[in-house]
Amino acid sequence: MDSDPKTPTPPAEPATTSPRIGVDEWVKRSDERTAGPRGLFGATSRLINGVPQVVWLVGFLAFACVLPFVTSNGYVIGVDADTLLYVLLALGLNVAVGWAGLLDLGYIAYYGFAAYLFAELSSGHYGLHWPTWQSVAVVIAATILLGFVLALPSRRLSGDYLAIVTLFFLQIFNNFTAQGQAWDWLGFGAPHDITGGPTGITNVDPFRTPHVHVWFIRIKAHVLDNAPTDYVWIAAAGIAVIAVLLGFVNRSRTGRAWRALREDSLAAEAMGMPVKWLMMLAVAVGAGVAGFAGTVNAAYYQGVFPSAFTFPLLITLYAMVILGGAGSLGGVIFGAVVVNVLLEVLRTPYQARWVFYAIILVGLAVKLRPWRALIAVFGGLLALGVAAHEIASAISPRLVAGPIAEGPTSYSTHGFFATLLRHWMILPAHTYTGGDYKAGNYAFVATIVLVLALTLVKGWKRWVLLVPTIYVAAFAWETDLINQAPTVRPLLLGVILIVLMAARPAGLFGQHRVEVV
């Protein structure tokens, strides 16, 4: 050897004041280089992320609680209560999916299990009318136990089996609740009505708060049967408490261990973390939250039905959690609110139309970078529409004579939108009264094909293809989809999930994650 390998010459000290060892300017500024969204959305999301999450939580809850006093519209208050229930559920799902990175597909089954159990304990079904606090405590404990049990057969290092087992439990649950009015222990006993079958269990007791007499504080006993207002408050209180509790857990050793588990379960285990136990804990904690939500659900609706706890609800919840950003408490709440409000808005064609076109316009404005492209696409869209309309009306007046949908059964040919659309869009005369919405169907399929094609082309061809895609989509919307809210809602959720995973897996407010390849 030429130089002694044990003592190599240390690098010469630089004469100038260059960065010292251990103090690295480049690394110090790494945050600036982390890809963050630019432009208006970037600024907005930085603003939102800058405000401490507590403020958002308190503000949101305050708004939700005040709403029943500001409006007497029962529908709105109902939406308020439903949204809060969704937020509660999303908080719980976030534990397993967002923090621990597990796919818990049985979540809705915990929710339903809790609701049914509460219904069994606090209703006329078995004649038990347990006091509220007793029922709720027992239900939550039972649901937590259920979560533990379901997570038990999952394999240590792979989350796939948890997904399978929980999915199947959901199916078992659905099967059992729908057929449970004649449960006969598989033929070994007499038929027994456990779950009330397809009609469910009704006349469930509402929550009853006890008479409180502590020192000088005296609160009368209440029966919370003024749904939904009372349950807005209950749910909001639940959210506040649970968000705080979960927030503390997230900052403690269990939260860190869940995050480590999500990052690399093998390494986590090598660092002393009991991976299997942590998985079970994450599922169980989520189940506990779902347990509480289930009791609120049962008391609020004063009944439980098998059709309320099915796969579509699971997808809805997942869409909320993923959209908001799995792992971020604030993001999850945001996702719940956005998705629920969106779904509600889609119910009425008139409102839905606003949303549809607003999303398209905003989406174009945000995503089309050079102003010229935006104007070109917009102009092309107008031109195409008007041209198509003229051609169609030249071929046959009936092709453009149709009205636009306003409400479930009301149509109109007047009004701002109607006038605008009827000159731009081809609306055949018997669009809504015809048997099969054939044209709309073809347009829908064509839209899908065009959208897929859009992802394949690049550059200016993309702008060009965008024009017919939007036009055909609008056509499918106006002639078909707008009136099919029960189908469009789940369709939209499915699309949200697919697109989010491909484009922005961190959701709107989740942490941008780096994956090792």
Partner: protein, 269 residues
């Protein structure tokens, strides 16, 4: 100077350790010991079974036969996290950091096995949970301080993926020490480092033994490192031990030379 291992019980002992995958015997009746505060290097050509030995010791792989003893107690069959809690920690040949967590969090997370606050205590921020949190925090800073200025200060809150390669290797070792082990298994800690960094790592390993009191089993390819810090060297080839002793003894052992370089040139005419 090799430590005297005959007087007290060895810290880590492998007895007749064997594991087969299908028809391939990856480790064959392996016997050796590592005394307390010893630094033993495990060398051998690629595929000799060195990482498999570490996997066996840490419980990732189950041995077909044989025993592994930590301070005299058998640890075969225990779950990996339990083995770590008993006092054996490892680093990975291909780094396995928690990349999206901060530097400090990586080290804090590794302390899970030695903390006791239940989830209810964490939710309600009861005294034990808060106290442990402070301890975890302080301990993490202490472990990171071992590496000088490199992982200190503002670095604590940097995500681990922003670290340079050498710093990632250091963090991996820091994280392993945070599990309060008695034995450290370092799998190629100097891989991919330049000579300066390699020298630093070698010094660091010595420092780990001297100041930290750890017993160290080291897998390494860089013979300079092996020579400079090992008390003893064990050479493996095709899963069997072919030599054991000081570096000079092992490096000149004909079987070791043959394993690395092939059969002697003099046999071919």
């Amino acid at each position: 100077m090799p430590h005297e291992t005959t007087q007290k019980r060895p810290m880590l002992e492998l007895r007749g350790l064997t594991v087969s995958f299908g028809g391939l015997t990856a480790v064959d009746k392996l016997d050796f010991q590592v005394g307390e505060k010893e630094i033993v290097s495990l060398i051998g050509p690629n595929g000799a079974g060195k990482t498999t030995v570490i996997n066996l010791i840490t419980g990732v792989t189950r041995p077909s036969s044989g025993d592994i003893l930590l301070a005299g107690e058998s640890i075969v069959g225990l779950a990996p996290h339990k083995i770590t809690q008993r006092g054996i920690a490892r680093t990975f040949q291909s780094l396995r950091l928690f990349l999206n967590m901060t530097v400090k969090e990586n080290v804090m997370a590794a302390q899970y096995g030695h903390t006791r606050a239940t989830i209810v205590e964490q939710m309600l921020q009861l005294p034990r949970a808060r106290r442990e949190q402070r301890q975890i925090d302080a301990f993490a800073e202490e472990k990171l301080a071992f590496f000088g200025e490199r992982l200190m200060g503002y670095r604590w809150n940097q995500p681990a993926y922003s670290l340079s390669y050498a710093n990632r290797r250091r963090l991996e070792i820091a994280r392993a020490t945070a599990t309060r082990p008695r034995v450290l298994l370092l799998d190629e800690p100097a891989a991919g480092m330049n000579p300066v960094e390699t020298h630093e790592i070698a010094e660091l390993i010595g420092k780990l033994r001297d100041e930290g009191g750890y017993t160290i089993l080291l897998i390494e390819h860089d013979m300079h490192v092996v020579e400079s810090i090992s008390d003893r060297v064990v050479a493996l080839d095709h899963g069997t031990k072919i030599a054991e002793g000081t570096f000079e003894q092992v490096a000149t052992d004909p079987r070791v030379v043959e394993a690395y370089l092939g059969t002697k040139a003099t046999t071919t005419k």
